[in-house]
Amino acid sequence: MKTLNHKSLILTCISVILLTSVSPAMAYPPDNAAVLYYKAFIILQEPSKDVKKMMSDLRGGKIKPNDEIRQYLQDNRYVIEFAETAAGVRDCDWGYDISKGFDVLLPELSKIRLTAFLLTAKAQTLAEEGDYKAALDKCLTIHKMARHVGDRMLISYLVGNALNALANKHIGEILSQVPDDIETLTRLKNQIYDITSRANSLKAAMSSEREIALQQIRKENISTVLDSLGDGTDGMSKDDIEKVRNGDEEFFRASREYYSNYVTSVQLAIDLPYPQSRKQLEQLNEKAKKQAADNPAAMLSAALWPAVTRICTLDVRARSHFNALKAAIDIYIVRAKTGRLPDTLPAGLPRDLYSGKDFEYEKTKDGFVLSFQSKDLDKGEISKYEFKVTK
């Protein structure tokens, strides 16, 4: 017994020594990705007007990487390095002071977009050099950054959504150049599935936005909200604005209740299949606008949520784009295994979320096309994604 106690004591001592010997200075990366992103943003060099134009043209596929772009990427190599390390960290806390409501500052959104542009340029440069795996990794980093942008505010969600679209567009383009390589394709497929399983959620963003709004729709905060809205109070007359500004406690209670119910209805509507969801959201929007004329409690909801149908269409578009990419990767894998594109769409692939049906698959001279079976009602047209294959 005595020996056992002695052994335990020694083991405990060794454990404590080992634990304390790992200096905090060696604990890299930190467990909050935002620290690294902020470091990246501090050293991020804004491009000159000419380079900015070149970067934009490169993203649009109008030009190939040139010396100026390569130099700009070289100047910002540490930014890319910090961003990649940050993207690999699980958690990201930007340090928002949510008590400020809609006045919370979000300067990182713009900087993260610029960093994403750097990464797409780097990806295109690497693809040009034939390093497709590294190029795809740069795009995957953008997806991870999008998740870090988060869904605590609706605007963060929308910026994250735009980052996903940017990354998916470039993954599609790089895939068109990748020679048949089952390992790279399988790795990409797994990463994309992992990313989408942990993607930001529109519903969560809406719930979060509601919490913030309900704190703001109060007598003591409403002047700040109205001042922030400024020209955004379209549809509200000067009298309406005065009514809101001078509202009593009962007015704000009723407004909060109306707002909360409105967001709940929107959240229920976005669960429906796209055409019904879109129709219901339009009706909700119209109803809120009409009611705002007679029911003062509805005025703030109408002013704070004017673009709900557009937001929901963007969400469906983004998720459908991910599905198209997943389906495309599977088709590329079939080609890598068999040496030829399949004649028909393989079974069990992710679906087009506009129609809830399989994508329409068509082989072309250069590769294949995946089309949606229903219209994107914002664009008023049927979208399609074109994928090329190497000869």
């Binding site: 409501g101 809609f102 006045d103 977009r113 913030i212 400024g230 955004g232 109070t233 007359s237």
Partner: protein, 145 residues
């Protein structure tokens, strides 16, 4: 109160209720020309002279001028309830351009590109560029040289 003053007072007090526009202007002019034509047709001598000499015509001319001025005033300075209800946007500081609400409104105006443009403007105003600090420069600063 004299008739001319009556009219002046009427215009001053009632102007918010006067519905301005081409129709009203045309009606006023038509009535004036009709009155003039009638006088000319009935007149034996110089019609203009008669008009100017006649007390009633002088009053009518004065009324037309006053109504015209009144209409002009109403037209150029519409009553408050006819004015646009939009709140004039005030110039924002760079930080205010980067708030959640401000970026939200930018998105409503023009999507993600509008957010990019607004943020770019804000950072331009801030003049934020990465500081290039070499060890040499830092040493100079620390030594106070």
């Amino acid at each position: 109160m004299k008739p001319a003053k009556n009219i002046e007072e009427f215009v001053r007090l009632e102007k918010p209720n006067v519905k301005t526009g081409c129709e009203m202007d045309e009606r006023t002019l038509d009535a004036s020309f009709a009155a003039m034509d009638k006088t000319i047709r009935a007149g034996k001598r110089n019609a203009a002279g008669i008009i100017l000499r006649s007390r009633a015509a002088k009053l009518a001319a004065a009324a037309v001028i006053i109504v015209g001025i009144g209409l002009l005033m109403v037209y150029r300075n519409p009553p408050e309830h006819q004015q646009t209800s939009k709140i004039v946007s005030v110039a924002k500081s760079p930080a205010e351009m980067l708030t959640a609400m401000s970026l939200n409104l930018a998105w409503r105006r023009g999507g993600i590109e509008a957010i990019d443009n607004q943020s770019e403007k804000a950072f331009e105003m801030l003049g934020s560029q990465p500081a290039k600090a070499s060890i040499q420069e830092l040493l100079v600063e620390l030594n106070g040289v």
